[in-house]
Symmetry: C2
Subunit: 548 residues, 2 copies
């Protein structure tokens, strides 16, 4: 391990070099001198935090970093949440960087695995977002932070707009460890709509040649929700939301959770649950939540980031979303992860594979995907001390005498869209760990943290299981016609059903034949636009699909 901090003298030297590059422009670096700037302030062996978020990307700074001369700057240790762009890997391919600590690499997961196999880089660890931020404050403190914002003024004050995301945390981690903070912005203005990050914490501002890259990751087109998703959503509401009185919750991304959101004003309202469940969300502004918000189902939504196209809608729903005095969203991924962990009674997520003990993973051979935020929210928060009806009931069912339990629900169809079974005897994560040299397999959510698994076949309540054998049988009971499911005999399933460990739709009063798309409060993207009163402006790719 190298030193975690830098002496002030080091910072002064680097800052002087930055000033030399910026010249008469003060804190503003002309875009064409950005690679030169980075070569001036970054030294070989530095830890560099590149903003690499879930949604927005410091893409111009990433490109300039990858253009540096590896003869001058090398052996960098990259610390970044998300590897999303080819340039995020180019620094390793070009020999500029050789170490990586990160949280998620979805789009670059295959190439990352190849580079690890080729020994072009060494992964320190795969983290959750919150863990990575924690380490950026403790032992992975950045020497240089390269971040992104919407606008800056000449004092270096930053306006992030609705996608604040990770920026304040990365900047705080670097600025108060003698690090140099460089921000790419779309625009330099005289007066910001609001200050999201004080200029005192920012050393150099680079106006990017074009607006930074950002992805609409949380938009699910209702047209793609299938009847099976509706059935699963009905079961989630009937078997979890209603009996546990879940008011504070977090949803992962996926068509099953999108279906739940679209069933709140219809199916859930019909069951008299308005005002009783799903009131306080920790969630990005999912377009599929619009009908529930418009029907008054939802009191509040606290956000990790924003969602492209939702800006105007969100700004007009200040009673629901965190909005600044300037009228636009302030999101915060660090605080939202904390809120998801400690202020929510329920996390609903999806996965690719589940094993006989309920361990789940999105890792597959040849791809190093990472975790993102799911493990943080999909784990029992043992540091929690306040109670709620949901938490207490879950704890009682689990046989806890001194504490409650978080509800952690995995919704997964028995087969993936490509036909591969979602239930497996052994996770691919073990092979990945062996090939990548990890000490432990990358498990997304551990089985002993999972409370319920919901498939199109039924629901199993793992809280009520008292042995590994029971847990396994409960999972096989909802695994349908996969090999995993066929290993179970009908009697075992019936016994679990009598004990309320396994619930089929009919046990929940749901007639499967009635579980259709008709329940959806919006059936297309256009329906969402209408529901929003015309405030939601879907990105082009969703408009095309909806009208295809």
């Amino acid at each position: 391990m190298s030193q975690t901090s830098q002496p002030a003298a080091d910072r002064a030297t680097r800052l002087q070099r930055a000033r030399d590059v910026c010249g008469a422009n003060g804190k503003i670096c002309p875009p064409e001198r950005t690679t030169q700037l980075l070569e001036a302030i970054i030294m070989s062996g530095d830890r560099v935090a590149l903003e690499g978020d879930n949604q927005k990307q410091a893409d111009f700074l990433a490109a300039c970093l990858a253009k540096m001369d590896p003869a001058r700057v090398h052996d960098l240790h990259m610390v970044q949440s998300v590897l999303a762009l080819p340039d995020h890997l180019a620094v390793f391919e070009r020999g500029i960087a050789n170490r990586l600590d990160f949280a998620f690499a979805g789009p670059q997961s295959r190439r990352l695995a190849e580079l690890v196999a080729a020994k072009a880089l060494k992964i320190g660890a795969i983290h959750t977002y919150l863990e990575l931020y924690a380490r950026m404050l403790v032992d992975l403190t950045p020497h240089v932070a390269l971040v992104v914002a919407d606008k800056a003024d000449r004092g270096g004050n930053l306006y992030t707009g609705p996608n604040t995301e990770d920026t304040p945390t990365i900047v705080e981690a670097a600025a108060f460890r003698g690090g140099i903070v460089v921000a790419q912005v779309n625009e330099i203005v005289d007066r910001l709509p609001r200050v999201d990050i004080p200029g005192d914490w920012v050393d150099v501002v680079v106006p990017g040649p074009k607006p930074y890259a950002i992805d609409p990751l949380f938009t699910r087109d209702p047209a793609k929700i299938r009847n099976e998703n509706v059935l699963m959503a009905m079961m989630a509401i009937s078997a979890v939301y209603e009996p546990y009185q879940v008011t504070r919750l977090n949803h992962g991304i996926g068509y099953a959770t999108a279906a739940i959101e679209l069933l709140l004003p219809t199916f859930a309202a019909r069951r008299g649950l308005k005002g009783k469940v799903a009131r306080n969300f920790v969630l990005n502004p999912h377009p599929t939540l619009i009908p529930a918000i418009e029907s008054g189902f939802v009191d509040s939504v606290y956000c990790f980031g924003s969602e492209l196209g939702m800006e105007r809608y969100v700004a007009n729903r200040a009673h629901v979303f965190p909005i600044g005095a300037d009228g636009s969203l302030r999101s915060n991924r660090t605080l939202a992860q904390v809120a998801g962990q400690y202020a929510c009674d329920l996390f609903v997520g999806g996965t690719l594979q589940i094993d006989p003990q309920g361990n789940s993973s999105t890792a597959t051979k040849g791809r190093i995907t990472g975790f993102g935020g799911a493990p943080n929210m999909g784990a029992d928060a043992r540091g929690r001390r306040h109670d709620s009806p949901a938490w207490l009931r879950a704890g009682e069912e689990a046989g806890e005498s001194l504490r409650g339990r978080k509800l952690v629900v995995q919704m997964v169809q028995t087969r993936q869209p490509n036909g591969a079974p979602s239930f497996v005897e052994r996770l691919d994560a073990y092979d990945l760990a062996a090939s990548a040299g990890f000490a432990l397999p990358p498990v997304m959510v551990y089985g002993d943290d999972v409370s319920h698994v919901i498939t199109e076949q039924g629901v199993c309540n793992l809280l009520r299981c008292r042995s590994p054998g029971e847990r396994e049988a409960a999972l096989r009971a909802v695994a349908g016609d996969t090999d995993f499911g066929k290993r179970q005999d009908a009697e075992t399933t019936e016994a679990l059903r009598r004990r309320g460990i396994v619930m089929f739709p009919s046990d929940l009063g749901i007639e499967s034949a009635t579980a259709t798309r008709d329940w959806l409060a919006a059936k297309t993207i256009d329906d969402l636009v209408v529901a929003s009163g015309g405030l939601y402006a879907p990105p082009a790719k969703f408009r095309t699909v909806a009208r295809a």
Copy 2:
């Protein structure tokens, strides 16, 4: 539950009333009009976040709040980290507030219990700090936040100085929910040393009539460390720090942990542990850490808050502490709690009572103390995914096949200073829960999260216990001549000792007779001042004691 958010119109009305009170002074409210200001902006039934921190207090705002006319403003719901001042209870006594969600009430714990018994207020829940912040973002969003900082400029920008603590999180929770933010400051200046909180987020600034109250809570006088504390510190280093190679850690407050800090440059250095253990702390600037820092033992310290008297020392050790470009500490309680949870392999704390399963509590009858931050850091972080030698070894010992474990150490003498046994068959927390109407007893750290308990008798390693019976026997083995300890027969203890579950000093190569204060790198407060090169300026009460 009431609505969590406020419409923008509501904010505009309140803000106009605030402007009317401030008059020509813009954002600045003259101190003599502060109660009038609060009566103008706070409405009956509001949730009010009063900064009530662990260290610094918005004491003038607390006093003005308690002076409001309960006929005009009543039924307030107070949301605050710490109840430290009589005025924090006066709002309940005077009928201005009647609900409370909080985290810690050390100094006011007895009076709080009386008020609860008299039904002057209803406690929503007792939280950890991080939980309470999480809920302030989700379902306990403040309508009004009353905070404290060192300095403000006329734009409302705030400089918190080294004790940033909770302020940014409280302000963010209120400012982006249409709430009104009022800051008490010691001074209004033209130019701040640095901006800690942007003025856009702050509506009104009140110059306090005198500097805000702040307590040196983390100063332990080395003169009060006893030989027993030294012995326990030697065992902690030998049985935990060394074998688990603990580099990232957090210490609670107490003489046992102070002794560890003062033994790093002596006992631990003698064992060749410099550079190998205790390198990265998440800790307030404990004066007892000065010798370890000066000897180069410590790479970095990330801070929840600051400590009175340590300001100049900390500012001069920018390679160790998080320091801004202005040259002073930036602390952050929220981020430090996250760092303590996710970036540390070890938490060492103390307690008043431990039960046969290792559950510990500081609750006693007639006192509602609260938790503070210990449960968050003294729990296994199940959302953690990155590994380290310490975490992996702890997990292996606990029989985990898929994950590691956090080291959670409780250091407690078998008897408290008043002679009461620290080991009890039943925690007082049960009686408190019954009398206060809590659903569950307020347990500080759960036994199944504890890895080691260290007394002056020895160490027990609970990770290696495979049953409740073994756990109980391990605890009785180190409980000395208390009734709890006497219930154990010597054979059982010997069997545990052979299996490495129980370790006495001699098992660790420690001769108890040599465990004396001679090992302390500083024996008095004056020694700490000398070690700091004269930079540490102890508060008067410690200077007096040291020279008495």
